[in-house]
């Protein structure tokens, strides 16, 4: 049943070019803006300014500083992207009046939630990986030698990204099951990215340096939260309430 729901969701997504485009627009910005900025700074900034940055960041070049500190943005993406889809998952079915026929089938709550969740995860993770690969290639091209991906980048994109995507998605499904307006659900679920954005800002300000240990602890915490959230999502999926409440 999960596979059936997943296949249908992906088919619908494939037929929604505008939604796919909207999903790709944020990653494109996250990739293009820093690379373009770095290229401009390296081309136009005076030598003394570049040397000053290197001095402030303990001997790292401006390219290395930007590359390493930009990683949290690629952790925000996999949380944010599935929210675009998952917040619509239950509320969207209600709006299109497809929820009642779906709930009238023998499909279990778990298979509906898993199918919809995986359908939101797969494109989010793929888009994040593609964006990360383009970012690494772009940065290396601008600075003229191979800097990325380093260990933190590989761990962050290959291990943390899927876990965070599942987290963002599960949050969206939980919110979508309780807050019945898909737009409100999307807005509420999107607040999940705020802690990570905060980390990014603090790190870019040079107040903290997030190392491999931080990312491993984060991965373990997120994996635990993912399991808990899927359980909560199934528990909160109240079929009667979904068919009767409209606010």
């Amino acid at each position: 049943m999960t596979l059936l729901v997943l296949r249908k969701e992906l088919l619908e997504l494939r037929r929604s070019p505008v939604l796919l485009l909207s999903m790709a627009s944020l990653p494109a910005t996250v990739v293009i803006v820093p690379i373009a900025l770095l290229a401009w700074v390296m081309h136009a900034a005076p030598e003394q300014a570049l040397a000053f940055v290197t001095d402030v960041y303990g001997g790292q070049s401006i390219g290395a500083v930007l590359a390493r500190n930009w990683l949290p943005m690629f952790l925000v993406l996999p949380i944010f992207l599935p929210i675009l889809l998952a917040a619509q998952s239950i509320g969207g079915e209600r709006e299109r009046r497809t929820l009642e026929p779906l709930l009238a089938t023998p499909a279990s709550t778990l298979s509906i939630i898993l199918g919809k969740s995986i359908a939101a995860l797969v494109p989010a993770v793929l888009i994040t990986w593609i964006a990360a690969a383009l970012f690494c290639a772009g940065i290396d091209a601008v600075i003229g030698h191979s800097l990325l991906p380093d260990e933190a980048w590989l761990f962050g994109t290959l291990v943390l990204s899927p876990l965070l995507a599942l987290f963002g998605n599960a949050m969206a499904v939980v919110v979508s099951s309780r807050v019945l307006d898909p737009r409100a659900a999307q807005n509420l679920a999107a607040t999940t990215v705020l802690p990570l954005l905060g980390l990014l800002v603090v790190q870019l300000a040079g107040r903290i340096a997030l190392g491999p240990r931080f990312y491993v602890v984060l991965a373990l915490g997120v994996a635990f939260a993912d399991v808990a959230l899927v359980f909560v999502a199934v528990r909160l999926f109240d079929r009667e309430r979904l068919l009767t409440k409209w606010r």
Binding site: M1, L4, V5, K8, L11, E12, R15, S16, R96, R97, T98, L99, E100, P101, L102, L103, A104, T105, P106, A107, S108, R239, E240, L243, T244
Partner: protein
Amino acid sequence: MAAIEVEGLTKSFGGRVACRDVTFSVGKGEIFGLLGPNGAGKTTTLRMLAGLYAPDAGTAVVAGIRIPGGPELRRRVGLLTEQPGFYDRLTARENLKYFADLEGSRRDRVQALLDRFALAEHADRPFAELSRGMKQKLAIARALVHEPEVIFLDEPTVGLDPEATREVRSVIAELSAEHATIILCTHHLDEVERLCSRAAFIAQRVVAVHEIRREDLLRIDLAAPFAPDGVRAMCKSLRSSGTSLFIEPLAQVPDIVAALVAAGARIEAVAPHRDPLEEAWLSLLADAREQGLTA
């Protein structure tokens, strides 16, 4: 043997009673109407019988399974929802196949139903592009895709143009000919008269179950009240109301009239008469209003 036995079903939402003490039964192969004004609790009753809501009180057994029943009940019932409820970007075929797969239907069912409902030609068009009538036929096909033992049709012709209404009604008539067990939920009296063998008037609770007569009765108006005992043997049914007799004749009409005259009755008029559902409906509705069961 009853396909559906409903006893005292009650359901409230946040203190608002949707239906109360609903009781009726539906025989195997019967088309049973559920009539009632908007907000009378028809859809709530259907949703409970389809396993979507759990009742607050009362019981019901549908196709041998006690509600709410879970996946096994949902496998045995087909539900036509009030809105067709399909995915706009998927084609008619993809939509039907999705639900067929979720129901675990036979592989050939989708094409068979597309053919049966004359949708095969339009099967590869996006659902959003289909006409309202086609959408409704596709929704009926979905309700049948897993060959359910019991079919619930919630307002099957609401919002349809006359042509589409006729098509949908003919589909229901076909199902009737195939001895499907159906509950038809509607507020169109003529639909019930055409399609159902019995109907329950529901206004939060079942007010009455009415047998639908298709054949005309004979109405004999008399000059004065008269005990028609002498002609009972000539009638399948006989009911007197004031100075009128309503007869379902077994013998020829002139013979009945002659027998009445011979027994001393003074006849003023003889005419065919239909037992209109509308009269019974309006009278029951007025009663329900008096009891505060409906607005």
